[in-house]
């Protein structure tokens, strides 16, 4: 079947089996390998992308279910050579080691700040509780997202 979705603002269309999972559509059909394919059981959160602005686990959604919807992946964060503040925060706060969970954590963090620009540590921890990181112990990821929140608040103040 033909599945057409808006992927990072561009319309993409591919002929796939109905059983094609969104994560494989993104990685193999659309060729965007930034989204990671992890546990395959909706536990680890490495495959999180935004569907109409909300974080979802792309290993547990059929590509066919996304026809007509807007999907954003980690590739959409950087704009005109400028990193998203959440990406900058991960760099500044050393929030990744092996990097496998990072695309999911970045998209989850981005979605959180879009909804709640000033999250508490508790709110950040709850938001990322659907992601598993085996390197950092989460502390630096929480700091990174908080760093991005402060950065964005400062930018808003300047504007």
């Amino acid at each position: 079947m033909n599945v057409t979705i808006t992927l990072n603002g561009e319309t993409v269309s591919h002929e796939v089996e109905p059983r094609r999972l969104l994560v494989h559509y993104i990685r193999e059909d659309a060729g965007l390998t930034g989204t990671h394919w992890g546990c395959d059981t909706s536990n680890c959160g490495a495959c999180v992308v935004l569907m109409d602005g909300k974080p979802v686990k792309s290993c547990t959604i059929l590509a066919a279910m996304c026809e007509g919807h807007e999907i954003r992946t980690v590739e959409s964060l950087e704009r005109d050579g400028r990193l998203d503040p959440v990406q900058e925060g991960f760099y500044e706060k050393h929030a990744l080691q092996c990097g496998f969970c990072t695309p999911g954590m970045l998209m989850t963090g981005r979605a959180l700040l879009d909804e709640n620009p000033d999250p508490s540590e508790e709110e950040i921890r709850t938001a990322i509780s659907g992601g598993i990181c085996r390197c950092t112990g989460y502390k630096n990821i929480v700091s990174a997202i908080r760093w991005a929140a402060d950065q964005e608040a400062a930018t808003r103040q300047e504007a």
């Binding site: 547990t60 279910m65 509780s129 659907g130």
Partner: protein, 294 residues
């Protein structure tokens, strides 16, 4: 790579259309909504439907509203919407208790109440929540609707009263005065199955428990309706002593199995303690509501 077996896919554009498709395609067709229970089962070949009917476009099934002396919840209402609903939390706070600990926030963006109830996993929270809240579900087929109590809805492990060519469309929570409710769960980490969970709702009138609902998750093959404890409490003034007796009944009437989450005696003990805590908190909330109303 875990991939479901091949199937045909179609998108429903109306409830009637979805029911007509179920009727036409027969027992090998399944409704898919959030898909966060069905797709993992399909990957493991625990389910191999040959047709999926996607109902995600049926926005007319996504609502929480008060109507006709009831709270009505559409089957396609997602966990995040249940969590955020102040209307639901004001009448049945046990929903918010449960939704804060169901799966994780990302999964809650997709999973629906209809899917959760129809999955009828014994470890699933909303089945116990709806049982305790004395909910009814609306099941629609080509010849119309029927309204079924939660006790009749749960037929067995992963089995419900939803028959061939039918779908669950709405959950109804009748409103009575003096209501208070709570859900208590212990899990190892976000997203894991519960070790045990207990839901309780009480309706207190003139200082006595006029009606009560208690149900347990994850400590048996199905959601456990604690009828014996409900009977004990009904018509009596709430007290710690009474809740202690309900705790003992819960520990006796559940039937957990030993697994990585704990041995049987531990789970029985936990089910009892959670029942007691849920009853205590439900009663506090009922009495607080009463005080505010007065």
């Amino acid at each position: 790579m875990q991939t479901p077996a091949p199937f045909e896919y179609e998108r429903a554009t109306s409830v009637e259309g979805a029911i007509a498709s179920l009727e036409r395609l027969g027992p090998e067709a399944r409704i898919i909504a959030g898909g966060h229970s069905l797709l993992p089962m399909m990957k493991l070949r625990l389910a191999s439907p040959q047709h999926l009917i996607d109902i995600n476009d049926l926005s007319e099934l996504a609502y929480v509203r008060e109507d006709d002396g009831m709270i009505k919840i559409g089957a396609l209402t997602r966990h995040v919407e249940l969590l955020d609903s102040d209307l639901l939390a004001s009448h049945f706070p046990l929903f918010r208790d449960a939704e804060e600990v169901i799966a994780d926030p990302v999964v809650r963006n997709r999973g629906t109440i209809g899917g959760s109830l129809c999955q009828a996993d014994a470890a699933e929270d909303l089945s116990a929540v709806c049982s305790a809240a004395k909910a009814f579900v609306v099941i629609r087929g080509k010849d119309g609707e029927r309204v079924v109590s939660m006790e009749d809805f749960h037929v067995g492990p992963y089995m419900t009263a939803v028959g061939a060519g039918e779908m669950l469309t709405e959950v109804r929570l009748p409103l009575f005065p003096g209501a208070g409710s709570a859900h208590e769960k212990v899990e190892r980490r976000a997203g894991d199955w519960a070790i045990a969970a207990a839901s309780a709702a009480v309706w207190i009138e003139g200082g006595t428990i006029a009606q009560v609902g208690i149900a347990l998750s994850a400590v048996g093959l199905t959601t456990i309706h604690l009828g014996r404890a409900e009977e004990l409490l009904r018509g009596k003034p709430p007290s710690e002593d009474l809740f202690g007796q309900a705790r003992d009944i819960a520990a006796e009437d559940c039937s957990p199995s030993a697994d990585g989450r704990g041995p049987i005696d531990y789970k029985r003990h936990l089910a009892g303690v959670l029942t007691q805590r849920a009853l205590r908190r439900a009663t506090e909330r009922a009495l607080r509501q009463e005080a505010t109303a007065a």
